[in-house]
C-alpha cells in the first residue's frame, strides 16, 4: 500500500490551492518549448498533466499510488503505476521529465534522480519544483509577527510527521515528509551528471517557500 492511497480526495483539493497551482505553472514554463514526450514523475491525481498537454507535450504520468492514478485516469491522462526508484522504461525514452512536489516523498532521492537521468535522452530536460528545503523545512517555524525561527536539526536527512500548523493537517501529518538539506537536494541532481541550468525561488513570498530548478542531459 502506497502512502498516498488513502488521501486521494484530500490531496486533490489540497494541491489545487493557489500556491501549488502557481508552482505547477512555473514548472511547465521552466521546461521551455515543448518538443516530444514528457514524463510527469509522481503525478498524483494528474493535476499537472493538462498544463503539460496544453503546452504541447505528449505527456505520460507515473505514480506509485493506484488510487491517485485512478483519479488521474478519470481526467483522461495517460498514466502508469510505477515506482520512481525503478522506472520500467528504456534509457533515453523521454525528451523531458518534470516532477512537482515530490522530493520529500521519496525514500531515496538519489536513486530517483538517477532514474530521471537514465530515461532522459541526450539533450533532454529535467525540471523539479517543490517545497523549499530550508524555509519550508520542518525546522523553520513561522511566527505570527512574520519572522521565522529556526530549530536545530536541518542538516539531518529524515522523515517528519508533525504539521507546521497544529490546527491544520498537512502533508507531514498525513503522509510524512522526508527532509533533505538544500545542498543534498542539488547535489543529488549534479551527481547524476545532469547539468543545472537554472535555479528559481518561485512566487514573491518572503522567505520563499518553494524551489524550482532546470537541468539538462548533455
Amino acid at each position: 500500500m502506497a502512502r498516498y492511497d488513502a488521501h486521494v480526495d484530500w490531496y486533490d483539493e489540497f494541491a489545487s490551492t493557489g500556491s501549488f497551482v502557481e508552482l505547477r505553472e512555473h514548472a511547465v514554463t521552466l521546461l521551455g518549448p515543448a518538443s516530444g514526450r514528457c514524463l510527469d514523475l509522481g503525478c498524483g491525481t494528474g493535476l499537472a498533466l493538462p498544463l503539460l498537454e496544453a503546452a504541447g507535450w505528449e505527456t505520460i504520468g507515473v505514480e506509485v499510488s493506484e488510487p491517485q492514478l485512478a483519479r488521474a485516469r478519470r481526467r483522461g491522462a495517460t498514466v502508469l503505476q510505477a515506482d520512481a526508484h525503478a522506472l520500467p522504461f528504456d534509457d533515453g525514452s523521454y525528451d523531458a521529465v518534470v516532477s512537482i512536489l515530490t522530493h520529500t516523498d521519496f525514500d531515496d532521492l538519489r536513486a530517483v534522480f538517477a532514474e530521471v537521468a537514465r530515461v532522459l535522452r541526450p539533450g533532454g530536460v529535467f525540471v523539479y519544483a517543490g517545497v523549499h528545503p530550508v524555509f519550508a523545512s520542518p525546522f523553520a517555524l513561522p511566527q505570527e509577527d512574520g519572522t521565522t525561527v529556526f530549530q536545530p536539526g536541518y542538516r539531518v536527512t529524515g522523515w517528519h510527521t508533525v504539521s507546521r500548523y497544529p490546527d491544520r493537517p498537512g502533508i507531514r501529518s498525513k503522509v510524512g515528509v522526508n527532509h533533505i538539506p538544500l545542498a543534498a537536494l542539488l547535489n543529488a541532481v549534479l551527481d547524476t551528471g545532469l547539468i543545472l541550468t537554472r535555479v528559481d525561488e518561485p512566487r514573491t513570498e518572503d522567505p520563499p517557500l518553494s524551489i524550482a530548478f532546470r537541468a539538462e542531459k548533455r
Binding site: 500500500m1 502506497a2 492511497d5 514526450r37 505520460i60 506509485v64 493506484e66 495517460t78 502508469l80 503505476q81 510505477a82 515506482d83 525503478a86 522506472l87 520500467p88 522504461f89 528504456d90 525514452s93 523521454y94
Partner: protein, 117 residues
C-alpha cells in the same frame, strides 16, 4: 495437447501467478527481451523493466485477471494469442506473441493489452 490447449494452460498459470502476487513467476512468463506495449506509453522492455512494473503493481495486492482467448495462430516457433480479459470490473483486449522455447513451453515476447475505455 493442441496449441490452443498450450495457450489456455499458459494463461491459467499466468493468472494464478498474478493472483498469488508471485512476481518471479509472472516475469518468468516473458522472454528476457520481451516487450509490453501499453497504449500511449513507451515500450516496457526487458526483464528489469518488466520486473519493476509488476513489483510495483503487485505490491498493492493480488491482480485477479481472467483471459479469454478468441483466436490462436500457430506459426511454428511463434504462437499468437488474441483475446479479451476481465480484471476487477475492468475489461480489455490483448494481442500476445509467444515464442516456443527449446523445452516446448511458451513465453511471451510481445504482450499488448489495451484497457477498454
Amino acid at each position: 495437447m493442441s496449441t490452443s490447449d498450450d495457450v489456455r494452460a499458459f494463461n491459467e498459470r499466468f493468472s494464478a501467478a498474478l493472483a498469488n502476487q508471485d512476481v518471479e513467476a509472472v516475469v518468468d512468463g516473458y522472454t528476457d527481451d520481451a516487450r509490453i506495449l501499453l497504449p500511449g506509453l513507451p515500450p516496457v522492455r526487458g526483464r528489469d523493466a518488466i520486473t519493476a512494473l509488476f513489483r510495483t503493481s503487485l505490491a498493492r495486492g493480488p491482480s485477479r485477471i481472467t483471459f479469454s482467448t478468441d483466436d490462436v495462430w500457430d506459426c511454428g516457433d511463434v504462437v499468437i494469442d488474441v483475446g479479451t480479459y476481465t480484471s476487477d470490473g475492468e475489461t480489455g483486449k490483448y494481442v500476445v506473441v509467444h515464442e516456443r522455447q527449446p523445452d516446448g513451453s511458451l513465453k511471451m515476447v510481445v504482450d499488448a493489452p489495451s484497457r477498454d475505455a
